[in-house]
Symmetry: C2
Subunit: 377 residues, 2 copies
């Protein structure tokens, strides 16, 4: 009885490699090796989901065919973290049969977890600390598009053991093409919080994640400014009329704005700014991770007019926080314009940059890790 | 702004169709339509995971190419429930980019949920009843292959609201090539329990599901009788030394054999019989769903000799239950031999048949639905 042990030269299966598969493999120095047995194909490539800025590569990575009909490519070093990708076989996108699937890019998509130096990545690794439970709860929503949804709810370590204690709540949203599973499955929000809380670096908090498309059919509309506004409005209804009341009744929360934060990544960052800044009676803490550059930035109209009374906004908010990766230039440029506008208006806020990461999960893990310690203190 | 509404002739996206995809589609009469745009391929087939007995078909289902390079095939009527499948493109297995992925067949694999008549399938549908939480908990195991694992834990409706109440526990295991996510994602164990409990047809119970391979590398060993025994032994260690103590300390259980059941499907059914019948001081209720025909059936040695003292076994067990589908002949034949042996030995037990279903999830959903109401009463 023998096992497929790690090879002597350090290559091991990735954490995202499927239960029965040997590839993709990763190397401690950040190299990544993709492999596919497909004798009949004429052309196979690895397509980084975050191209052209992806840490995996700027565009499709051609694989080389061996005599045995096995296609392979080695790339890197790649900065640590998780990256979406798929394979293109003779022009057709398919998932890598060797990788686990995640909901991203509007479908089930492959992703690879790239390791890094222990001291640089320990904050999102599974460690010997107390762990919260990640719960999935089904609940019914109201209004025009009433229906069932699933929300993912992190309860911090100790939640079950201290039945009298009440907790603040962070509502944390995914990006376009993702769903309520993204922040745990791709983002490791649970491990990031477990580690921060164990170190005394963040307040124990409940984290609530739900499908930001509000009604599923919105997901399949053609992109347009109207669709973007509709997505924000529909999600606001679900959030304020259904989700917050549910969470405040089913979990031991402190049900006020001082103990309620709203944050999200990309599309979810747009939702956090639009909904959070215009509902400060509900949310005292707002975080936007790589919010998309919107069509205009006008103190009279942006964020539903929330900047029209900057002093009022400033007084109502405990924290306004905007982060992105230095590798996503369009988002940095817009974030810096927002930074300048807020400074001109006298609205206190914080900005954050994740060094060397782009519009991908390494940026958003870093944002959560920087943002969560500031909350509820 | 228009939506892709259900077509006038009744075709709709399957519940398992990915968030951004239009296919696969299903029809209320049980027809299933698969579709893939892949202009360069020369041959595309749908491969039922449960072939040759699958409700989807006995073997690969060739797809037909249209002039637009779209491949399509319509099959059925298919009995309601969930079926694993994948696509074979010019001989290479790939997942359907249109479907969600599940852990089965030792990897991420496509699956399709086929609808059925409301009165015949309501027991596993999402309904307007109280819903339990499905929690994912990380915990550390002990012994030779110590490490972290994730277990999935269903807490019944009311668990959080009644902090003094204690509950019985069903340990419920997946089959070969699956993992701890199978019983919820594919089996709908949570919805089946929600519906039974709401109807007063089952006791409110905690359900615990974990990775039955015990230590992940076992999953990649070549199949052999020794591997099967190793998998049972390793899982017994995790179950008795790690998981049961964790669950009894972290959740409000009644920590005795009268309030603890062990069940599983296929490989998990083998584990339930071997471990359950030889550990009646821990488990008073044992259920095997489609347990695999083992090499021998001998009252002196089978199930680790648990049948050597039939009167003692009979007195210690509250329930011994064995079910399978009428469409899986090898499993029925073995189940019936076991039935005869137990009857000869005077060990009280129950047998169950799921009409017209094979070695697939429709059988195991039906088994859970028949088994759970008998527990803890």
């Amino acid at each position: 009885m023998t096992f497929s042990a790690p090879s002597a030269d350090g290559w091991v299966r990735a954490q995202t490699t499927g239960p029965g598969a040997e590839y993709p493999q990763v190397h401690p120095d950040g190299l990544v090796r993709f492999q596919l047995e497909l004798a009949t194909a004429g052309d196979v490539r690895v397509c980084p989901g975050g191209a052209p800025d992806s840490g995996l590569g700027a565009g499709p990575l051609p694989m080389t065919r061996t005599d045995d009909g096995v296609w392979t490519v080695t790339v890197g070093p790649v900065p640590p973290g998780l990256y979406y990708y798929w394979l293109e076989v003779d022009g057709t996108p398919v998932n890598d049969p060797g990788s686990r699937c995640y909901t991203g890019h509007g479908r089930a998509v492959s992703a690879i977890e790239v390791p890094g130096p222990a001291d640089a990545t320990a904050w999102y690794q599974l460690a010997d600390v107390p762990h919260g439970d990640v719960r999935t709860r089904r609940h019914h929503t109201t209004g025009e598009h009433a229906g069932w949804r699933r929300s993912v709810i992190y309860t911090p370590p100790g939640y079950d053991e201290q039945p009298q204690r009440r907790y603040p709540v962070l509502y944390l949203q995914h990006g376009a093409g993702e769903d309520e599973t993204g922040w745990v499955d791709q983002g490791r929000a649970d491990l990031i919080l477990d580690n921060l809380i164990a170190a005394g670096a963040a307040e124990p908090m409940i984290v609530v994640m739900t499908d930001g498309y509000a009604w599923p059919r919105l997901r399949r509309l053609a992109r347009s400014p109207q669709r973007s506004r509709t997505i924000v409005d529909a999600f606001e209804h679900v959030l304020l009329h259904d989700l917050v009341p549910l969470v405040d009744s089913a979990y031991r929360t402190v049900p006020d704005a001082q103990h309620r934060a709203l944050a999200g990544l990309s599309m979810g960052g747009r939702q956090a700014l639009d909904i959070g800044l215009s509902n400060t009676e509900h949310f005292g803490w707002v975080g936007a991770f790589s919010p998309p550059p919107i069509e205009d930035l006008d103190p009279a109209t942006s964020f539903r007019g929330a900047l029209a009374d900057p002093a009022g906004l400033d007084a109502a908010l405990r924290l306004l926080w905007v982060g992105c990766g230095t590798g996503e230039a369009r988002f940095v440029e817009w974030r810096d314009r927002l930074h300048g506008l807020l400074a001109d208006l006298g609205v206190e806020h914080e900005v954050f940059s994740s060094e060397g990461t782009a519009h991908e999960w390494p940026t958003w893990r870093a944002c959560l890790h920087a943002f969560a310690p500031l909350l509820f203190r």
